[in-house]
Symmetry: C2
Subunit: 246 residues, 2 copies
Amino acid sequence: VPSYRVTLEYDGRDFQGWQAQGPGRRTVQGTLEQALAELDGAPVPVAGAGRTDAGVHAEGQVASFRLGRELEPDLLGRALNGLLPPDVAVREAARTAEGFHARRDARSKVYRYALWNGPLRSPLREGRQHWVRRPLDLEQMRRAARDLEGTHDFASLQSAGSGVISTVRTLFRVELRGEPGGEIELWVEGDGFLRHMVRALAGTLLEVGSARRAAESMAALLAARRRAAAGPTAPAQALTLIRVDY
Amino acid sequence: VPSYRVTLEYDGRDFQGWQAQGPGRRTVQGTLEQALAELDGAPVPVAGAGRTDAGVHAEGQVASFRLGRELEPDLLGRALNGLLPPDVAVREAARTAEGFHARRDARSKVYRYALWNGPLRSPLREGRQHWVRRPLDLEQMRRAARDLEGTHDFASLQSAGSGVISTVRTLFRVELRGEPGGEIELWVEGDGFLRHMVRALAGTLLEVGSARRAAESMAALLAARRRAAAGPTAPAQALTLIRVDY
């Protein structure tokens, strides 16, 4: 059976997240499956590397699927881009080995959380960056970020309802770029992510940056294994799935 | 009478341009005048430096007006930001001399026209950059751009219906930044702009970059003084009014 993977870019604003949830909800997976069904003439179930939430964007989401007939990858990508709406597009299409699965075979994912730390609301950043008006202490945030790197039980940063068995994950990188008072980016790379994990991590580091939580408290936070021990889930629209590596 | 000027940032997507056009059309001027009327308790007519078209954004539009009562500028800015919708905000507010007029007193304006020259449609650039798929010859575009700098009669780059008397303007800078195949920005600075002038200039330079018009033809184009002698009006959503200088 011809097996494929595509790399997708999308603006998450008008999607109810990645995962198809039945009729009446516009999702990225549902939109892609519809375009593939038109192309292949039969239903095409799709697996996505990351189940991005409603409002979350992607520069490099990866999806895998099988088609009833052979299609040259470049032609597949261009045909899909003709069928997909303006807020989602294929960046790359490739043949894969038959058993390939976009989520199960992923080795690591990179997410970016974008903050606007200026004193004033910025309409052109609306829907892409999260506005934090109070000046942030980046040094304290970087200190806390370091303690989150590595292999830990991240149960404290997981929202209820995911049903995963192990909550142990490895974060290869938790990095803050930028300057206080300007644009700040939180880059997180890991072998896997729990439900709302990057947003809970961002919300927690924002409390550290506002001196409402000690930078040294990350080990205790993780040890608590309770969602209430961490900070709030930061807004979705500032999060982008940048890349998935295999 | 207390006179003020405010610097505005807005996302032009959901506005029918700057200029108030009566009920039923959402414009930036109308939105600002409504917020000012709520604040001042009386109608407040506003003058804008540039009459941006529907879909055009601003990082630094300037508006001037007079209020019935004295208000500390910082307080005025923050109060307006509380009353304005998410897609427009005040970046700066200041007192001005009583006769100040945002458009008549402007010495120069800076516009940026943003292009995406990659081979594939980019959803995250949608509404902000104009996608030009064919590879552009930036050297030829730069050569043509140089010939547009200076004081010229720009009647060939003016859309009908503006009713201005003189079509002579001075462009201090027509600059292309970026690389073919990536993000390219056209920066234009001038003492004044005719209707759709930056967009017609962008459309003309895009024809030069696609070898459909000779880089050496700018002098003849200007001498023709006919809109049909120039290229098409490029799409509005890639244009941003960056700054107005006084």
